[in-house]
Amino acid sequence: MSSILDLFRRRPTANLARERLQILLSHERASAGQEGLIITLREEILAVIARHVVVDRDQVQVKVERTGESSILEIDVTMPIPRAKLRAASC
């Protein structure tokens, strides 16, 4: 039931709008605009790593996050333990 009192009970909604936008856009920015850049970076990073170690393609994650006027580039590589170390450990 709506009454005149509802007018006074109503909470401001702009804060919620702001929060929802911030969450949504941080996701959309990471995916949409930077897609091309991420693909290039990922391929080149993979090539550099492959020169030194054998890694699975799925083990290389590249993310770009825009914060204000700059971006943070996150590279996450899960590397196998080098053979030499494995051998040393088993001795």
């Binding site: 401001p12 702009a14 709008a17 702001r18 936008l21 856009l25 959309e28 949409a32 605009g33 204000g68």
Partner: protein, 271 residues
């Protein structure tokens, strides 16, 4: 050499056409030679907002296809002799607007004007991309409302990657024009505040245009609001925005119609 400005937003109905006309007229009032270019093929409106709809003979597609010279298609404003309109085609296929054709028209406009203002169609498709492609400066028109802010964010990403300047590795100047702002509602917490939108989009602010009935009145008579009601709140806000666009430092304010009420009543009686 002209500066090419794209007035863009992603979302439709936020005030791009209104702003193109108002900014163009305000620039011309300051003595600059200005061309406003309608990129909204099939949904042209800039001619109507400028009050030139009955004088359209040729449009940009006629120029691109060699059916008319640019000078034949340009319509001189009745009130300001340094303000010109290049209309969009209302009947032709959108594909007739080619990238190469647009490049030629913009290059020719650069030769004879100080400012070329491109009124972008809504959306993030080909038409919007063509309108922004040659821009040196982008005016991102945004309403304090979630879907408009989201679309502006998307457009900013495209300005940074899909324009000629971006492709050359140069930066395109981007400015936020916050329109249809209602300060009372923002203060009540029912509308995103200026700072909220700035925080989220993080591009410099060109101006805050208040929600005002003067905008509708100006469109009814077919005159940019800066010409039809020069002392009204939106007109003052657009005039300040133009001064900033020209590089002046102008203190940011949100003009209100209430302050100008006396002046407006007085102005009308005299006129």
């Amino acid at each position: 050499m002209a500066k090419v400005v794209v007035v863009t937003s992603g979302k439709g109905g936020v005030g791009k056409t209104t702003s193109t006309a108002a900014l163009g007229a305000a620039l011309a009032q300051g003595g600059e030679r200005v061309a406003v270019v309608d990129f909204d093929v099939g949904l042209r409106n800039l001619d109507l907002i400028m009050g030139a709809e009955r004088r359209v003979v040729f449009d940009m597609i006629n120029v691109i296809q060699g059916e008319a010279k640019l000078t034949q298609a340009l319509i001189r404003d009745k009130r300001l002799e340094s303000l010109f309109l290049l209309p969009a085609s209302q009947t032709r296929d959108k594909d007739a607007l080619t990238g190469e054709g647009v490049a030629r028209v913009i290059a020719e406009l650069r030769q004879s004007f100080d400012w070329v203002l491109c009124d972008s169609p809504a959306g993030i498709e080909r038409g919007a991309l063509l309108a922004m492609h040659h821009a040196d400066i982008a005016v991102v028109v945004t309403n304090p409302e979630v879907s408009s802010v989201r679309d502006s964010d998307r457009i900013i990403g495209m300005l940074d990657s899909k324009t000629e300047r971006a492709e050359r590795g140069e930066r395109i100047e981007r400015h936020l024009l916050l329109t249809r702002y209602d300060q009372a509602r923002a203060e009540r917490g029912d509308m995103l505040k200026v700072e909220d939108v700035l925080d989220i989009l993080s591009i410099p602010l060109l101006g805050i245009i208040p929600e005002s009935q003067e905008v509708l009145r100006a469109s009814n008579v077919g005159a940019p609001v800066t010409l039809n009601a020069p002392v009204s709140a939106p007109a003052r806000a657009y005039t300040d925005a133009v001064r900033r666009l020209r590089g002046e430092t102008v203190e940011m304010s949100i003009p209100s119609d209430r302050v100008g009420l006396v002046a407006r009543l007085f102005g009308r009686r005299v006129a």
